[in-house]
């Protein structure tokens, strides 16, 4: 897969997502967001969990594309 194809794929998918997601969605007003503010509705890990996963997990698993951003560290 060459670079041009990769860039085209990312931009194309981003455009499709940008076109589809906001359209036709009912607004959820601020007063109805009590549950969305709860920690169980947060899909992101806590910050330290994210740091440990990002720094350590890919090299321990021995993967290249298994988590966000496969770069920046050696682990050797």
């Amino acid at each position: 897969m060459n670079t041009r194809k990769i860039v085209r794929t990312v931009l194309g998918l981003a455009f499709v997502a940008a076109s589809m997601l906001p359209s036709g969605c009912a607004m959820v007003h601020q007063k109805d967001r009590e549950f969305l503010a709860d920690p169980v509705m947060n899909r992101a890990p806590d910050k330290l969990e994210g740091s440990l996963d990002g720094d350590n997990f890919p090299r321990r698993e021995g993967s290249t594309g298994g988590s966000s951003g496969a770069g920046g560290g050696c682990g050797c």
């Binding site: 969605c25 509705m41 720094d55 993967s63 290249t64 594309g65 560290g73 682990g75 050797c76």
Partner: protein, 388 residues
């Protein structure tokens, strides 16, 4: 590490609103152990403090002490550090990297500045890490913008790594040098109902320079050893889609989240990742989380099971070969009694993740478990947080 740069924007993407945070100190202690007897301990802390207005500063520090970085490859007979069981020259348990002593430390630190007001958020950070043979310096920026009555969030981020590898001893003859990584992401999230969120995030990453490391010389058909040789440029793209549905079991809120991640790079390495997480309140203060993850990787175009030694590109690094892995994990989060005050912590968490990789034992490749068994690893964490 790039995940660190994107953590802030990802958080905004997934929740659709900024997180309220007071001044606090978070700590975690991680212990890792795998089937090759590799052990690692990693204490980490994060200090977050408001400095007026809508601005916060944070400082993160981490130490990672390991008896090997994690993969086990065939460096037997390399004549350099090729004796796994020699205490003074232990080979990396998974990557095949070497270390000169029984423990190898890596230290890292990040300082960040964040600003958040009425649906607009910006952040900047600088990260540095150092181990005996590797140095990484990384600035990063990110931001997000809410619109549509804050039901829709667009986020973006960029990070740049200025890395340098300087192998020691005889390894320095085989490789080393500068590596540059630049990565950009764009995300979009949407609140669909009071209990339903969806999001999508795309990332492009370009890596140039000395990619890989010299510690896995390739064994040729005639049992000779030749140095790894990888292309000096790699472009990669990944796309991540997520959906999170909340629900109630009795009075307690819970959620099921499903995430798919697809990855492909210019070396023709591809992967799919599917993660499912169930988070459930047991009480107002106590939350349990269970997760499962499936990962499948197809190898880079130039990887082979056997080499003649005259190939343009060649590697024995297990990171570029096909495999499948499975992960199961559990986590509990809760608070200490309200009466605790002063220097006592306010919150705690504990977790354990277990991973299986379909890499079977092979003593000649330093996989120190039966040929009928798979590679396994476990990671346990304990965290404490203080309000300050």
């Amino acid at each position: 590490m790039l995940r660190k740069a994107f953590a802030f924007s990802t958080l905004l993407v997934l929740t659709g609103h900024a997180q309220d945070e007071g001044d606090r100190l978070d700590t975690k202690f991680e212990v890792f152990r795998d089937r090759n007897d590799v052990t690692a301990v990693s204490p980490i802390f994060l200090l977050t403090k408001g400095i007026g207005g809508n601005t916060t500063v944070d400082w993160e520090g981490q130490v990672d002490v390991v008896t090997g970085a994690s993969r086990e490859l065939g460096t037997q007979g390399s004549g350099q550090y090729g004796k796994l069981t020699t205490a003074s020259n232990i080979l990396d348990g998974v990557s095949g990297a070497s270390q000169a002593g029984p423990w190898e430390p890596r230290v890292g630190s990040r300082v960040g500045l964040g600003w958040d007001d009425k649906g607009r958020a910006f952040s900047g950070s600088f990260y540095a890490s150092r181990e005996r043979d590797y140095q990484s310096l990384s600035p990063a920026v990110g931001g997000s913008w809410d619109f549509g009555e804050r039901n829709t969030t667009v986020s973006w981020g960029g990070s740049w790594f200025f890395d340098k590898e300087f192998p020691y001893g005889a390894w320095a003859l085989l490789g080393g040098g500068d590596k540059r990584v630049q990565s950009y992401n764009l995300g979009l999230s949407q609140i669909l109902t009071p209990l339903l969120l969806v999001g999508i995030n795309g990332t492009f990453t370009r890596t140039t320079g000395y990619i890989g490391h010299p510690y896995n010389p390739v064994t040729t058909l005639d049992s000779g050893l030749v140095a790894e040789n990888l292309p000096r440029k790699k472009d990669a793209a990944d796309l991540d889609g997520q959906i999170l549905q909340g629900f109630h079991i009795g009075p307690n809120l819970g959620s099921i989240g499903v995430e798919y991640r697809g990855y492909e790079d210019s070396w023709d390495l591809k992967s799919h990742t599917v993660t499912i997480k169930w988070s459930q309140h047991l009480s107002d203060a106590t939350i349990l989380r269970f997760q499962g993850r499936w990962y499948r990787q197809w190898g880079a175009a130039f990887v082979q099971s056997q080499y003649l030694g005259d190939e343009t590109y060649r590697t024995a690094d297990i990171r570029y070969y096909p495999f499948t892995s499975y992960l199961l994990g559990a986590k509990a989060v809760s608070e200490f009694p309200d009466s605790w005050a002063g220097w006592l912590p306010r919150r705690w968490d504990i977790s354990y993740d277990h991973l299986w990789r379909n890499t079977q034992g092979n003593i000649l490749l330093y996989q120190l478990y039966p040929t009928s068994a798979w590679y396994m690893q476990g990671t346990a964490r304990v965290g404490l947080s203080w309000d300050i």
